[in-house]
Each structure stands twice: as structure tokens, then as C-alpha cells.
Assembly symmetry: D2
Homo-oligomer: 188 residues x 4
């Protein structure tokens, strides 16, 4: 069983969300703070977007599909966030920002958005790809390399629930083994 932190339990969700375990790594490894401007594409159910908006100065989140922007809008309202701009639009074509500290990509063929991501990032900014398959990881990392990104590294985060009882401390029998790899890099 994967245990959801309380804040996520009330959020609405579409078919797939980025889990808190991966959200935590994106925050810790990118170093997002209260002064950060973040971009997120695609929005999906907006779990990453709202999580970043609770911390950062401003978050811009792109998705082509208005039905997902609508779910994310509900989550934005529920948490009372006024620093999250949800945009129904194509992140492959255009990201309107140029001073971002973080661009997080979770789309099919998201390596195709890396050129735009580079333009949108400030110097030293972080890009991260959320990529379920090893082939996607390779494509993404090689594209980062060819675009001159630096300090490229890839992690997989596994969270294991423990059973803790008066007698019988042990890991849970079953659990989530894999969601996606995270590939990080920095704009030089």
C-alpha cells in the first residue's frame, strides 16, 4: 500500500498523478524555494503544480487538454492558491517565461520541449523530466547533453511502507515499486 500524505488525500485526481514521493524529490533536488518561479508541463491533475505553488513565488502550468486544466483548477481553489497560473496551451510550441528556476516536464516525448525549457530557464535553473520508461530516460538525457545542459543525473525513488506494531516490525508485503525515473539537469 502506498500511503498518501494528508494534504494529497483530499485532492481530485485524473487517471494518473505524480506521487508525493516524486514531488518531494523534485523539490529537494531542484532546490525550489519561496523566491522560485516554476513551470510545469503537462499539468495533469495538477498535483505537482499545486505542491510547487505552496512553496514557490509563482507557478505556470501548461496542458493541452482543458479537462485536465479543469481538475487542476479545482485543486488550486481547494488549496486557496493565487500564485498558480493554469494555461491550456502547448508547451512544445511556447512557454511564455524566461526567468524560471525550475521547468518540470511530464509529457509524452517531453524531450521535444527541452529547447523551449532552456529558453524559459534562468542561468543555473533546473530542468527535470518525469519519465516512466528507460528508453525515454535515454532520449531525454541525450537531448539534454546535446543542448548543452550540465550536471545531468537520473534517479529512481522507492518508498517502502513499514508495518510497525507492538510485535512485528517489518516492511509491508506489497507496494508500489515504480512510478517514473527523474532526470535532472542545470542550464549553464
Amino acid at each position: 500500500m502506498y500511503i498518501y500524505p494528508r494534504i494529497y488525500r483530499k485532492l481530485k485526481r485524473g487517471p494518473q498523478v505524480i506521487l508525493p514521493k516524486d514531488i518531494g524529490m523534485i523539490i529537494a533536488y531542484s532546490g525550489v524555494d519561496k523566491n522560485s518561479v516554476c513551470i510545469d508541463a503537462g499539468t495533469g491533475s495538477g498535483w505537482l503544480a499545486v505542491s510547487l505553488a505552496r512553496i514557490a513565488k509563482h507557478v505556470y502550468s501548461y496542458d493541452l487538454r482543458p479537462e485536465f486544466t479543469a481538475i487542476a483548477e479545482k485543486n488550486r481553489e481547494m488549496l486557496g492558491l493565487d500564485n498558480l497560473t493554469l494555461i491550456t496551451g502547448d508547451a512544445f510550441k511556447k512557454m511564455g517565461q524566461s526567468d524560471a528556476d525550475l521547468v518540470a516536464l511530464d509529457m509524452p516525448s517531453s524531450e521535444k520541449a527541452l529547447k523551449n525549457a532552456k529558453k524559459a530557464l534562468k542561468q543555473g535553473g533546473t530542468v527535470v523530466g518525469y519519465l516512466p520508461h528507460t528508453e525515454q530516460v535515454k532520449k531525454f538525457a541525450l537531448k539534454l547533453e546535446s543542448l548543452g545542459f550540465m550536471d545531468i543525473y537520473t534517479i529512481e525513488t522507492i518508498v517502502r511502507d513499514m508495518l510497525v506494531r507492538r510485535e512485528g516490525v517489518r516492511p509491508s508485503t506489497k507496494g508500489i515499486w515504480h512510478t517514473a525515473y527523474l532526470v535532472f539537469a542545470h542550464k549553464p
Copy 2:
């Protein structure tokens, strides 16, 4: 090899630090945001304290040992944080706050600080213990239960570095398998 996110590479460290993987989980699972007041004990090298201060409204960090407060003070200065109060003092005896959103405990016998932690937390606030051993986890969780904390759960976070190359995508051969378990609970 465990890869450190860039922000942590310049930080000073004593013999042991809480790694970014665990910091990320503490942030994501506690739901700390810009309005949060956090308490941290013991400070150690201050990696968790500065990470929280980059996000939260204010962080109070306690350690009995002035040599650790000094390391943390260097890290606080390096990051230019003015919302982190480092206190050389005994968190078992006293935490001077009463409206905290998060109390994070990383001390020997930290279950003995849970009574104080409960007083320091606001309603609905989160306590988290960073506990290397299974025996500590059990003691901590049972003490949480006896003090009436709710929604107690324990996780272990494993971050696996991947080798990503033009030919040869695979997990790293060696890595860090274990730092500590995290036990979370909420004040009712």
C-alpha cells in the same frame, strides 16, 4: 554513489547529515509551505533546518552542542537565510513555540521529546522522527500512539542512481541502501 543536489554540495557538514532524499520526503509528506512554522531538533549540521527555512515562514532549530550550532550558522549565512533561529538548548526540556506546523526530531531517544513536541504543535500539525533503527521506530510509534497522535505511518526512502549512456542504461552498481526510517504523525 549518492548524488547530492547542487544546493547541498557547498554546505558544510559534520559527521552526519540528513540527506536530500529524506529532506524531500519530510517536506512532501508534512506539507510544509511558505506559511509554516517549523521546529527541528537536533540541528546537527543544519541541512534539514536550512532546507526548511528556504521554504517555510520560520524555523527554530535546537541542539545541545554549540559546535553543531556553529556549523549550522555557517550554512545559514551561506544561504542568506534570516528566518532560521538556531538555539543551543535542550529540546527535551523545552521548546518555546506553540503554533508549529512541523516538529522534526533527529536525536537519540527522540521519543522522549514527543510530549514537548505535542505542546509545540498546532492542531493538525505534523511530527516526524528520523530513526535509523527498527527498535527506535517501534518505540517512537508506540509513544506517538500513547500520546494520542493520529495517522501514524512509517516509510523508508530509497534513491537509486541510474547510469544513463548512449548504450548501457542501468542502475548504479553500488549505492546507499539505508539512512533512516521516517515516522510521521499528526496532532489531533
Copy 3:
């Protein structure tokens, strides 16, 4: 999903069995070969007993509960093994052998059978405990130490299924995280 090797798919099973992943480790770490005499208690569904009997010279398997001996007997017959002796009896009270290469224990409080296990083992023989909980692991390991066993070590074996497709190689989303720890030791 945990994939069963073909040979195990046709075997009968009661409520719980030792999985092939743990059976493989018991074989590889004990060094059981065609000349080995093995003891197994409790029999349970007999999966470990029949797996050992397919390799070893002779296997003696003890269980107090005749309904389990009966399941194991079906599995013995199905595989046509004539070197497996199934005994409905109490391994805490008596193991009738004295030249065993391996004693494998999977019972509640199996540390209480270690004194008998030591008598049943030949010099240099291996004992292994199959223990789901960390508290059991500690009790078992400390008892081994107090009885003068040597070279005590504990492992946990995790088998991760991979999805392999024309496009989309990645670990399975869900899986079995934990069955039991294995504690090995040798009779000096």
C-alpha cells in the same frame, strides 16, 4: 506481480508458502548439493522441502499439523520424489538426524529449535531461519550467538519483475516487497 517459475505453478499450496526467491537464496547460500542431507521444519505446503529434495540426497521435513503434511505429500508425489521423508512431529522436541548439512527453520519461535538444530547438524553445516519480523531476526541471531554458531548473517531478498516491451522497458508498477528475512549461520 510476482512471477512463479514453472515448476512451482502446478504445486499445491496452503495459506502461505516460501517463495522461489527465498528458496533460491537458501540453496545458493547454504551450498546444498547432491550429497547433502537436509532438515526442514515446519513443512507447511512443502515447497522448500520438495525444492531441496530435487537437489539433495535426502530431506527430512517436520510439521506438527497433519493437514500440512498431507499437502506436502501431494506435492512430493506430483514431483515423484522418493528422497523426501515427511514427518508429522515436533521439531522442538526431536530431530532424529545427526549428520545434516542444512537445517531450515520456518516456525513461530523457531529460535527455540536451534539447540536441536545444532545437534542435528554435522560440523560446518548450515542453519537458516526464515523470519518475517525484525524482532524474530534479532531473537534468532542472538540465540545463534549464544549457542556458539559462527558466521551469522542476515539478508533480505527482493525480486523485481521488469516489463520488457518493444518500447517501454521498466520495472513493474507493483510487486511483493517483503516475505521474510533469512538468517544464516554455521555450526563450528
Copy 4:
């Protein structure tokens, strides 16, 4: 730290060996027993070959490089095995057997030996590839499919050492995270 079972501690080794954790899985998942004929290519230091020979009726092990056959020969002698035939030869060109229960492949481009492996196997026999990289896993699995092998599945085996002490049961801090994936299939 990866703990070697006692039997492996005295064996000679070249630059790389198949570890007992993977040997255990090959044995348990293939169902090798005393009546089995096994083929192994390449021999390397012969750790898999001798492990199989301790269990099976006969093992044939191929390696192109005579320096490796020599290491394996030392290991064969040390264990007194007379049912292991070490062959300095090219498994891509020829395997002289036709009734094998198991063919285990650990070579660069080992998918190129699968056609020969199929000829060497008896009906229902098992082939297993030991493959460090995800790309190799895919190539191997797709080749198995195109050759009509059945019941193809891929696993990764992780063995985690535990520290067990009077006070302080927990997983080891560091360890081996990855050796290779194992791809299994059966000849129809």
C-alpha cells in the same frame, strides 16, 4: 557490503563473477535438479558452472578465452567436481549438446547464441540470459520472442544485508544495488 556464502569465499575469481544471489535465482527459477544437463556460456571464472555442477547431472561450459577456462578449472578441481566439462570454444558457433535442461548465457551479444541455445535445449528446457543493461534485456527478450520461445519473463534480484545487533537492527548503509537482469524463457 555483499556477504559471500562460505562456499564461494575460497573460489578463485577473474575480473567479474556471477554472484550467488543471481546463481540462486537461476537455480530456483530454472528448476535444475540432479537429473539436469546444463550448458553455460561464457564460463568466466566458472562460479555459475561449478554451482550448477554441484547440483546437476552434467554441466558443459564454453568460453573463447583459455585464461578463463584455466581459472574455472582451478575452481572445478578445488570442489572435486567430475561432471563439469570446460570447453575452450565458441558458443555462438556450436554447442555440442541437444538434450539440455538449461542454457545460461552471459556473454556480450548473447542474444546471438539463442538460435544455438534452442537447438541445444530439450523440449520444455529453460534458457536464461544474464544481462547488465536494459538495452541488452530488450534485445534478448525480443529475440526470444522471434525464435518462438515461450513464457518469457525478466527479473532483477536485490539482496540487502541486515545489521543485526542487541540494539540496532537495520539494513546496511551501503550495498550492491545492481549486477544484471535475468531473462528467462522456455523452449516450447
